[in-house]
Amino acid sequence: MRRREKMAHAETHDPNTPLEYRSETGRLNILGFWIFLGAEIALFATLFATYMVLSHRVADGPALGELFEVESLLIQTFLLLTSSFTCGLAVHEMRRHNVKGLITWMAITLGLGLGFLYFEIQEFLHFIHEGANIGTSAAWSGFFVLVGTHGAHVTFGIFWVTMVLIQVAKRGLTPATSAKVFITSLYWHFLDVVWIFIFTAVYLMGMVTHNG
């Protein structure tokens, strides 16, 4: 095709509109990401269904609730809940055009996320040490794949947020970078939502049915 000049895409300049909604691409990407989250809900629902159907089928391995510990659970939960909060603050700062605030809060979010991962891995190692791994029984397969998929999402999220922060640092807040930040924040909050259900359906239910 013929030679054509490159130009930035047309943008809205209404000062009341948050940056991430100003460009057409930003708006489309954000809506698309919302819809992607709908697909993620179906994905996790399938994993939950699998887990719930299999959670009693322990063969000759340990029962699920037997190995769960409240302390580790609470640490992980609070780390993730707080990270969701700080992530929200980061976006709040972004909407005030405060790049430094954004980066600071996001960095804290990442730290909390790493902390979560650390405790999750510790917990997995503990379970494996106690004789429960992915091949122990259907119930444990369900557990490791459900919780592991969430963990893999968090891991991916940490890399992703880091990449986006690098871009913000390099390019400052533009409609393009701020849309990216906003999308990663949606992703991060969503992982918190999933964790709430893991907290409830896996850990609380596991402990209740085991004790009661």
């Binding site: 047309a10 708006r27 179906a42 399938t46 992915i134 122990t136 397969s141 871009q167």
Partner: protein, 646 residues
């Protein structure tokens, strides 16, 4: 792994295939090099993000897959033509029906429809491209690579042989060792990523890229059906993704989801498979419904009857499609209550579908019906699809299904809906929009031959199968005894199958013939159409589709403008620079890494799999740092393009 396990050997048919694959490859490479087409191939096709070109590539791949699946079908029919035939042995037969079913549904029907959606929907809504052109290319290439990965199983490593449903524990490592089943898992997984992305892409496209004035209730019916289909895709495909991943874990990493050991549960696979599988069959029928709505309305020269009811019935079907999956395993013993509930929800789908049927009929009522080939396929659809539909309702009656399940009655049902519904629509849509894609019509006279030979062959092939089913012939048997008495009807069925094959050959001939001899279209409105895709001045729309985005004032906007004699002429002063996305080679490269990863997983060569996955992530990260805002097409270029074609 030994060599005798890597290359499939020992069968003249396979050697034949090996030779023809190598020859074709050499031929293509030679042609590309001799005529210096490499750059053209790369610039115009491999890196394109133009929805029309991607659509054409989808359709070409789907036609190839129809051929592959069709050859499989004819091989099966040959084996079944007479009792105790020795043409194929059991293992071969099993591989063939597995690849036939999988290829036809995943790599033929869906891509064909998605291809047509790609070509048509952005034009119908008056948009210059889809919402995410780059992602669209990723979708196509992951589909293509998934299909290729699945197809090479034929000559490398052996094909899967557990049926397209791959029930566990049959599909487990213990009972089906080797790469075959892995091909199924990885091929579908990779293609599934593309499908999910298509779902998101087109949902956003339809919601956000419509021309001004085109409210939701002014959208053409094909666009509506695409919208509803995308919703189903978005929520059904993740289920497949998970189900495939879990089985992959069972086979590769020793987990126990569906296995015999470790308290795994084989029923759960069936449950998850059909949680996706049932919505899937509506994914392949709803766009078909949309196309028939367009075609019937166009060639009756009349507004669609009951536009709103058509939309609500589709929304109902979409909602229901997630509530009926258990009808595929009524015989699993889930109890009377479960079976009753799912019997009723399943039958209820017949109601909105019936509404659509009658609305189509009454679209023709008081119309002026022109019997063009697309219209013939549509009429054939109505007449034949209802047979498939009502037998579907018979299957839905659980107590009776205990007798139909796993028999040829079922086989016949789903071919009646899949072929008379989906395949007829693919043919109809292809012929209808052919001038939009290539600038000329397919020859109508030859096209009518294709229609009659195919439709008659189709009925001759599948109608007897209802009776075979009622006579107790199970599906998936590679042969049967003389005493069973199934011989004559099977022979009839085989004859019908070959008639369809002949019709397919005539269709291909028609493409060649029309390419050589058909009169080229001079306007963009080949059929006196009603919707915006026909409003482009050139037969084939330019890459930016519309020099000036149309403003829509109602349903069938273009038709009404024509009626009122008010079709606007494009004026030079209306033209502004047009923003377009740039081409990118990244999707193709990313898909190639997917291939490497998939191939490694199939043979459990983990170093290779990890290399491929790193490559995939590498391309993702590369893309994340790429700030490409596309480019502007200058006013002069637009004027030039539009003038040249005038």
């Amino acid at each position: 792994m030994k060599w005798d396990e890597f290359f499939v050997t020992g069968d003249p048919m396979i050697y034949g295939a090996d030779v023809s694959i190598v020859l074709t490859m050499v031929g293509i490479l030679f042609y590309l090099t001799k005529y210096k087409k490499w750059k053209w191939l790369w610039d115009e096709w491999l890196t394109t993000v133009d929805h029309k070109k991607l659509g054409i590539m989808y359709i070409v791949s789907a036609v190839l897959m129809l051929f592959r699946g069709g050859v499989d079908a004819l091989l099966m029919r040959t084996q079944l033509a007479v009792p105790e035939a020795k043409f194929l042995d059991s293992q071969h037969y099993n591989e063939i029906f597995t690849t036939h079913g999988t290829i036809m549904i995943i790599f033929m029907a869906m891509p064909f429809l998605i291809g047509l959606i790609n070509v048509v929907v952005p034009l119908q809504i008056g948009a210059r491209d889809v919402a995410y052109p780059y992602l669209n290319a990723v979708s196509f290439w992951t589909f293509f690579i998934g299909a290729m990965l699945f197809n090479i199983s034929f000559v490398i490593g052996g094909s899967p042989s557990a049926g397209w449903t791959s029930y566990m524990p049959l599909a487990s490592n213990e009972l089906s060792p080797g790469p075959g089943q892995n091909y199924y898992l990885l091929g579908l997984q990779i293609a599934g990523i593309g499908t999910l992305l298509t779902g998101i892409n087109f949902l956003v496209t339809i919601l956000k890229m419509r021309a001004p004035g085109m409210t939701l209730f002014r959208m053409p019916m094909f666009t509506w059906s695409s919208l509803v289909t995308m919703v189903i895709i978005i929520f059904a495909f993740p289920i497949l993704t998970v189900a495939l991943a879990l089985m992959t874990f069972d086979r590769l990493f020793g987990s126990h989801f569906f296995t015999l050991q470790g308290a795994g549960m084989d029923m759960l696979w069936a449950n998850l498979f059909w949680l996706w599988g049932h919505p899937e069959v509506y994914i392949v029928i709803l766009p078909a419904f949309g196309m028939f709505s367009e075609i019937i309305s166009t060639f009756s020269r009349k507004t669609l009857f009951g536009y709103k009811a058509m939309i609500w019935s589709m929304l109902l079907i979409a909602g229901y499609s997630f509530l009926v999956w258990v009808h595929h395993f009524f015989t699993m013993g889930s109890g009377a209550l479960v079976n009753s509930v799912f019997s009723i929800t399943t039958m209820a789908i017949g109601i909105p579908t019936g509404v659509k049927i009658f609305n189509w009929l009454f679209t023709m009522y008081r119309g002026k019906i022109q019997f063009t080939t697309p219209m013939l396929w549509s009429l054939g659809f109505i007449v034949n699809f209802v047979i498939g539909g009502v037998t579907g309702v018979m299957l839905a009656m659980a107590a009776a299904d205990y007798q139909y399940h796993n028999t040829y009655f079922l086989v016949s049902h789903f071919h009646y809906v899949l072929i008379a519904g989906t395949v007829f629509a693919c043919f109809a849509g292809l012929i209808y929009w052919y001038p939009k894609m290539f600038g000329y019509k397919l020859n109508e006279r030859i096209g009518k031959w294709v229609f009659w030979v195919f439709t008659i062959g189709f009925n001759v092939c599948f109608f007897p199968q209802y009776f075979l089913g009622l006579d107790g012939m199970p599906r998936r048997v590679y042969t049967y005894s003389e005493e069973s008495g199934w011989g004559p009807l099977n022979m009839v069925s085989t004859i019908g199958g070959f008639m369809m094959g002949i019709a397919f050959l005539i269709l291909v001939y028609n493409m060649y013939y029309s390419f050589r001899y058909a009169k080229r279209e001079t306007t963009g409105d080949a059929w006196d159409g009603r919707t915006l895709e026909w409003s482009t001045p050139t037969a084939m729309p330019p890459f930016y589709n519309f020099a000036k985005i149309p403003e829509v004032t109602g349903l069938d906007h273009f038709w009404r403008q024509k009626q009122a004699g008010k079709v606007e002429k494009l004026k030079a002063e209306d033209i502004k620079p047009i923003h377009m996305p740039s081409n990118s080679g990244v999707p193709f490269i990313m898909a190639s890494f997917f291939f490497v990863a998939g191939f490694g997983m199939v043979f459990e060569w983990m170093w290779m799999a990890i290399f491929g996955i790193i490559g995939v992530f590498g391309t993702l990260f590369y893309r994340s740092f790429e700030y490409d805002d596309g480019y502007y097409v200058s006013v002069e270029e637009v004027i030039e393009t539009e003038k040249i074609s005038k």
